[in-house]
């Protein structure tokens, strides 16, 4: 789990906990390298889950429009398939050559493993776990505008 939480479920029920273990503890991957993760879901009643999505995506973040790319996506529904995915499972994928992770001033590119749970109640829960693709150095300085 990453250090910060971007939000929390507003429902009074306790939030699920999704732990992800990367095969590289530093979470740094080279372009076109294999990524393998093991995830575990806790704090849920498996029978209450209607579907689970596991994906590997990149997204941009910054001052402009946001962009998102899906590199790997899998949706599991039905008791038999969910039994393979809960309470834990694996995601293995060969990463692409680009876009590489980038910590820019105006725009940042982040890669993450995403596990999304859909509950029979209609509620859903997303857990994202960031990793780095490539070794592009971060932008060093920022120029502050005054107007």
């Amino acid at each position: 789990m990453n250090v910060a939480e971007a939000g929390a479920a507003a429902a009074p029920v306790p939030a699920p906990r999704v732990g992800v273990q990367f095969d590289r503890p530093d979470r740094r991957y080279a372009a076109e390298q294999e990524l393998a993760v093991r995830y575990d879901v806790a704090g849920i009643e498996p029978a209450a889950v209607r579907a689970l999505e596991r994906s590997v995506v990149w997204y941009t973040e910054g001052k402009g429009e946001e962009d998102l790319g899906v590199h790997r996506f899998e949706r599991l529904e039905g008791a038999a398939r969910l039994a393979e995915a809960l309470p834990g499972g694996t995601i293995a994928v060969r990463l692409p050559a680009s876009p590489l992770s980038y910590e820019g001033v105006v725009v940042k590119i982040r890669w993450c493993v995403r596990v999304r749970l859909f509950f029979a109640s209609g509620r859903d829960f997303v857990s994202e776990h960031v990793f780095d693709l490539g070794t592009v150095p971060p932008a060093r300085g920022a120029v502050e505008r005054t107007a």
Binding site: A15, R110, F125, G141, V143
Partner: protein, 213 residues
């Protein structure tokens, strides 16, 4: 209802945190808008009205909150963001779908131009569709609210954004400075706070290398 965990906060002033749909609707003193009272007033003026204010005064944010409240009340709502007068076609379709009591929420109504705007208002009345629009100046529709800004509003918005590194949270002097620099445009002020956050996190940029002649 979606719960989210794991994504780093990053820069709290990035688009995903400060886009109109993500920000609360606050008044110029930083207090939450009374959406129910505004909807009652909208009904009282006949169902069609304008949210008026300068750039970055919170019109679009309020429009989105009012649209969501109308939908939650079981009313049909269509959202249209106008970029040019050429967007009249999707607008006409939205008005048709909102016939007999639905509401078309139109952002940047003035981009339609005066005559097309009058035609759309007339056509909407004919089919029984209501219009809730944003505009920079009062126009043919009744003004539901004039949006205004202040440093207190920016302060209240900043307090509601996710917290990253406590050392990087802007103080009152930062808010006053960006509010002045942005001439009261809250959207621009939040982008200036984005820049300040990046500068403090990384340190200032080195001067660009140049060639002396």
């Amino acid at each position: 209802m979606t719960g989210t965990a794991g994504r780093p906060v990053g820069n709290p002033f990035s688009t995903r945190h400060v886009r109109p749909g993500a920000l609360p609707a606050l008044d110029s003193r930083g207090r939450p808008r009374d959406v129910a009272a505004l909807l009652a007033r909208l009904d009282a003026v006949g169902g069609s009205a304008a949210l008026v204010g300068t750039h970055g005064s919170g019109k679009t944010t309020l429009l989105l909150h009012l649209a969501a409240a109308l939908e939650a009340g079981g009313r049909r709502v269509e959202r249209v963001r106008l970029r040019t007068v050429a967007d009249w076609a999707p607008l006409a379709g939205a008005a048709w779908r909102c016939a007999r009591g639905g509401t078309v929420c139109i952002d940047s109504w003035e981009r339609l131009g005066r005559l097309p705007a009058l035609l759309v208002a007339w056509a909407a009345r004919r089919v029984g569709a209501r219009l809730l629009v944003t505009a920079h100046r009062p126009g043919p529709l009744p003004t539901l609210l004039e949006c205004a800004t202040s440093p207190a509003l920016v302060t209240a918005l900043v307090a509601r954004l996710p917290r990253g590194d406590a050392a990087l949270v802007p103080g009152a002097a930062d808010v006053d400075a960006v509010f002045r620099a942005a001439a009261g445009n809250v959207r621009e002020a939040l982008f200036l706070l984005y820049d300040r956050h990046e500068v403090r996190r990384r340190g200032p940029a080195a001067p660009a290398a140049g060639v002396r002649s």
